[in-house]
């Protein structure tokens, strides 16, 4: 391995090891949370709702739950990790190394991305034992989920870099991210909503992400798949470009 490869591998390893060292909190808790969602919305309420668009309700909500798990974990991991390191000053060790802004950004992003991936894969595996979960369009599902994971990993980095106290991270997660995800249609189909809520949902970017992942699993498309994929790719690229610029300028990282 070259020196640059060793450097990038070590920077990424630090981020992945951080969440693995506290896996009860970073992997166990989100898994339990997702399982509780499946139990409450799928098994308990689902028995009353029966089917949505010809699909069992519990099966209908699982793709959204998998996406939500990846998104929230990618976001919260990166925002917390960066803010903690800023507080401790430990981030200075990476910042005073020869690592480039791009290497630093990718490594910080990868931690949350991997944590989201672990939780999503475990959720998928557990759900597959509980219900018959199809995978209809894997070529849409994999890039869709990866883009969602990378988008929220970037968003976590952005909030972590900007944040000056833990309240800033909690604010973004509780008052922006979770409402957007919940109102994006994880637990219901937007088509069932009365106006103006159905139309309003179409302005929520998470709606298209859920639609994409649901199409990948179930083959049911609530929004235009190609456009959703294009929109998500562009949004992720734009966010990455913003973060790279901030890292290059040393915004709130270097005095």
């Amino acid at each position: 391995m070259s020196a640059a490869q060793i450097r990038f591998f070590t920077l990424s390893r630090r981020e992945v090891n951080r969440f693995l060292k506290i896996k009860k909190q970073t992997v166990g808790a989100p898994l339990l949370e997702t399982f509780l969602y499946i139990s409450v919305f799928g098994a308990a309420l689902g028995s009353r709702i029966d089917q949505l668009h010809g699909i069992d309700y519990v099966v209908f909500v699982i793709p959204g739950l998998i996406m939500m798990a990846w998104a929230i974990n990618a976001f919260s991991n990166n925002s917390s990790s960066i803010l903690q390191q800023k507080f401790q000053g430990a981030i200075q060790d990476q910042l005073s190394s020869p690592a480039s802004p791009l290497e630093l950004l990718l490594a910080f992003s990868l931690g949350g991305f991997m944590r989201g991936l672990v939780v999503a894969v475990l959720t998928f595996t557990a759900a597959s034992f509980l219900v018959d979960l199809p995978v209809e369009h894997i070529l849409v599902l994999i890039p869709g989920l990866f883009l969602v994971g990378f988008f929220f990993a970037q968003l976590g980095v952005l909030i972590g870099v900007r944040a000056e106290q833990f309240d800033d991270v909690a604010m973004a997660q509780t008052f922006v991210l979770q409402p957007l995800i919940f109102l994006g249609g994880v637990f219901y189909s937007a088509a069932l909503l009365p106006e103006p809520f159905e139309t309003l949902t179409h302005f929520n970017p998470v709606y298209y992400m859920i639609a994409l992942v649901r199409y990948g699993f179930l083959g049911y498309a609530e929004a235009n798949v190609a456009l959703s994929l294009l929109f998500l790719t562009l949004a992720t690229a734009a966010l990455f470009a913003v973060n790279l610029r901030l890292f290059s300028r040393g915004y709130k990282l270097r005095a």
Partner: protein, 247 residues
């Protein structure tokens, strides 16, 4: 030069040369700009204007090579709470591109040198203040830097550890490592440094050997030269002794 967004000028027209192999001391009161200067050299702060060259590499344009040559032991213990002592050394060397086998050997050597072997598997947050200081110095040395920057390395440590650290840094300086030291302990600067610069309000106001600085300020020792610099000559202990004897 370094001007913060608040308008504070932490460094103004600083011009400083540290020769290869030198043990260089940077002295000045709190807020004089010592840490800012160090941070500009290591990428933790970005100078507003001017250039910093480290062994010929521009610290901004050619930051990779410049930072590769520097080991920084900062003033505040900035250890990663999630890592053990040994991981702290291993990760640091990894950030500097050192291969695994070399990292292991170097970490073993430094754990031994700094009496950290028994603590190798403990998380850094459980260490005592003295142990943290040792670890910070060991971490700075992991990638075998040609320039070691010590930002108040003995602040708050006991006499035994201070003497141990002095002994060690003297040795690595003799082995060829250039050292830039900031300290408030004038005795430390006198004992260790070949050359000393006084920094005050973001400017280098004088530099030379301890004897040259004393001569420049027309005083008996480095402490009095320092007090002359900060305008507190009345605190001079040597003058008080002379006055006491005269009376």
């Amino acid at each position: 030069m370094k001007r913060y967004p608040t308008g504070v000028e932490a460094l103004r027209c600083v011009s400083l040369d540290v020769e290869v192999g030198e043990f260089f001391g940077l002295l000045g009161p709190n807020g004089a700009g010592k840490s800012t200067l160090i941070h500009c050299a290591t990428g933790l702060a970005q100078p507003t204007a001017g250039t910093i060259r480290i062994f010929g590499h521009d610290a901004i344009v050619d930051y990779g090579d410049a930072r590769q040559a520097v080991g920084l032991a900062p003033q505040e213990p900035n250890l990663d709470w999630f890592l053990t002592v040994e991981e702290t050394l291993d990760y640091h060397a990894g950030y500097f591109g050192m291969p695994k086998r070399e990292r292991r050997a170097r970490a073993a050597e430094l754990l031994e040198t700094f009496s950290l072997v028994e603590k190798r598997n403990e998380r850094t947050r459980t260490l005592s203040g003295g142990m943290k200081r040792r670890l910070i110095l060991a971490r700075a040395l992991m990638h075998r830097p040609r320039l070691l920057i010590l930002d108040e390395p003995t602040a708050g440590v006991d006499i035994e550890l201070r003497l141990e650290l002095w002994h060690y840094v003297k040795r690595i300086n003799q082995e060829g490592t250039t050292i830039l030291l900031t300290t408030h302990y004038l005795e430390e600067a006198e004992q260790l440094c070949d050359k000393i610069a006084f920094i005050n309000q973001g400017e280098i106001v004088a530099q030379g050997s301890s004897a040259e600085l004393s001569a420049k300020y027309g005083v008996a020792n480095l402490e009095d030269a320092y007090l002359a610099l900060v305008g507190r000559k009345e605190l001079s202990r040597s003058r008080a002794e002379v006055e006491e004897l005269a009376s």
